[in-house]
Assembly symmetry: C2
């Protein structure tokens, strides 16, 4: 799709035929326009974005990646941005505004005040919530009715307000204090008799989330209950807004990236097209930590310098023991951290998981230890070195299995994110134990 | 939730009070019942599942994890299973049946034939599709109308058939050959005038997916277009079924697990509670591959045995060079593979990404090289060793940055899954280059 229209857009931008370009954009889906803008050089991208009317711009802007969006936000006039925000859902508008500095935020919201005071107030309210809790995901655009409203009144109410709310499908039912009482599918309303009341039609067992719930837990609610839309309430069960499943998909993507990132010490802002200097600076602290854990492991090797000086062959084999432990440990770690992320590991079954990984460590240790022993013997013709290598591998892979499971479980119990730093702890441990067991056995036996 | 009811369920199972247990389950959400079953010992779990009536059982079964579900499927009578499948959506029923062996499948479907022939035929059709394409995700339960149907006819039709279709919200509009023409929100129908036809009310720009599209691409369609429901069509645009967003969340979770798994050589069937022997067997091949790459790296060390025997200190420092390269390379690899998974890396911008990671590698190489040099000097008081260590780290981290980006990009171009094996290639490369550069420089300079 993008490739098809890309050269056409470039051509129209070069010939300055903005009428034709405007027409082309009007026929495309906003996500496809975003794809095209992603491919344009920064100045052409600004030029193309300027051609979009406020409504289309309001649909395209949330689809853009951080890089391109920030470039546009840097160059856009406050008045135009306010006009675009006016067309947006409150959750998306809030995400955009939160990218601006304080001075720009003030100006844009002041400009939006003159267009639509309600919109700017919604944004001010939503800005107060953390980005990664339910309040930071929710939108204020909802359709809610009082429990005593009649079917036809509800339909009339929907007719007046449905333009503002996309994808509603569900109507929230509240009492007079705006406390959430139930939820009503539009289909039920369509099929209902005229004199029915909201409270007769609604479902009472409504699942809602508190406004301060962490986004990972919110995502887990969607995952568990297979729902599309979730109402958000305050501590008194007063309805504040709703979260839609499309935003949850973004959360799930984000959390998966974060977990993958944390395992190797990356920050979530470090994306494919971040500036090189920024990326480098973000990765340096972690690499320095790694350097010191590596020095720690090296200091274990240093204890055995005497043995190595007599049997240089040990220097050849010692990285194998450490590396194999690291691989086995990281496998266990990945199984356990994904299990935790998907909510499979509960209070009751962690001991079972720990025990299982220990058994796997023993089996793999023995199998790989035997193969390692054979390889060493065939390569260097020294049976004793082979046996020492094999035994050290068995020890190290059992340690890898046990601690690869224990470390993330412990971190979860201590409420530390198990993805964070588990990787460096387990590889440091397997390096140290690998060097110590191999060189220690060698010192004893050779 | 689970913890609250867990002991209650155990108590009622022990006292054999099945009436009370039945009543308790009836008040709970199916996902919460599943959570409770996950915590029970296998025999108690079977006992509790037997108490669920067919409808509730049909809701609970798809929520269970593989382990518990397989235990139930092993022990369930074919007739009861057929009754449960009859209550299920066709996509979920097909997933259950695909877990059975051929003999059991035949028996269960024959039993379902006598209950509801249409259901068993739907399952037979869906079984023909691969699990990981659109056809493997779709359900046959849809509401579709002909384009010339009037508003009231549609409402009557929905009244008759909506019980079978959960969460429909959208009606698909087709022509007489069942070709997909448009899509119609239920809300629009609610607000429409009596004499309107389906084709007047529907949206023409309907996004659909071909039945053979890979599930990762299907997930990407949901992600990109922010939709809840996607119609599935054959090569002639004939409507076959629909995919709902709750199934896509499962796909996204699955693909994220798979990517995390492949990076460390795990198979997706290897879960927290797989049997130890199975897990061990699944991990062994990868560990053997790793053993041989480690031996390959060790053979590079072996080339320098002469140098090491004169300067044992080299054995102490060489794992640091290799390890730091591995860490930096895995960071780059993770950034690029996540970028590919989320569709951020396109044809046009890969060169930019490659260049960026090279720059990051140079910056981090220089910074960490200087620190490494300082550490070596302070620890061992040998400036030359420090300089050699620093220089080798610079070389190795530049290699890590460049190849950490190049390898997944190359694999993507060759249509190999970039998550697969990239990890072992990059760490082998950084081990080999780390040992070679450090020991090589030492041999030249000492």
């Amino acid at each position: 799709m993008g490739e098809l229209y890309f050269s056409k857009v470039i051509e129209l931008l070069n010939t300055g035929d903005s009428a034709a370009l405007h027409g082309l954009f009007a026929r495309l889906h906003e996500a496809d326009i975003a794809d095209i803008l992603h491919e344009l050089p920064p100045d052409k991208c600004l030029e193309a974005f300027r051609l979009l009317d406020e409504e289309l711009a309001s649909e395209v802007l949330p689809e853009l990646n951080d890089d391109v969006r920030n470039n546009i936000l840097e160059h856009i006039h406050e008045k135009r941005l306010a006009g675009i925000l006016d067309e947006m859902d409150s959750d998306e508008a809030t995400d955009i505004v939160s990218e601006l500095d304080d001075e720009r935020t003030r100006k844009v919201l002041a400009s939006l005040d003159t267009i639509n005071r309600e919109d700017s107030d919604d944004i001010r309210q939503l800005l107060a919530y953390d980005e990664d809790v339910a309040g930071g995901l929710m939108q204020k655009e909802i359709i809610s009715v009082q429990e005593n409203m009649k079917r036809d009144e509800m339909i009339e109410y929907i007719r007046e307000s449905h333009e503002e709310v996309e994808n509603f499908h569900y109507i929230f039912v509240t009492d007079e204090q705006h406390k959430l009482k139930g939820i009503l599918e539009v289909t039920k309303l369509l099929l209902a008799k005229q004199n029915k009341l909201a409270k007769d039609l609604m479902e009472n067992d409504v699942i809602s989330v508190p406004v301060n719930m962490d986004q990972e837990q919110v995502a887990h609610m969607f995952r568990k209950y297979d729902i599309y839309i979730l109402p958000v309430v305050d501590e008194n069960n007063v309805l504040l807004g709703r979260i839609t499943v499309d935003d949850i998909i973004d959360v799930i993507d984000e959390e998966a990236s974060e977990d993958a990132y944390k395992m190797v010490g990356l920050e979530s802002e470090d994306r494919v097209f971040s500036k090189p200097l920024q990326s480098a600076r973000r990765r340096t602290p972690w690499l320095i930590v790694n350097l010191f854990t590596a020095v720690f492991a090296a200091s274990v090797v240093s204890l055995f310098e005497g043995t190595i000086s007599r049997f240089v062959i040990l220097a050849v084999f010692m990285p194998i023991v450490a590396g194999m432990g690291g691989n086995a440990g990281t496998q266990t770690l990945t199984v356990i951290t994904r299990g935790i992320a998907l909510g499979e590991l509960t209070f009751y079954n962690t001991r079972k998981a720990l025990f299982k990984e220990l058994i796997v460590g023993i089996i793999n240790g023995v199998v790989l230890g035997i193969i390692g022993c054979a390889v060493a013997y065939l390569w260097k013709g020294n049976m004793l070195i082979g046996l020492i290598l094999g035994a050290a591998m068995v020890i190290n892979m059992i340690i890898a299995g046990f601690f690869g499971a224990l470390i993330p479980i412990l971190m979860k119990t201590l409420k530390i994110d198990p993805a964070l730093a588990s990787g460096v702890i387990i590889t440091t441990l397997t390096d140290v134990c690998g060097f110590a067991s191999f060189l220690g056995l060698a010192t004893l036996l050779l």
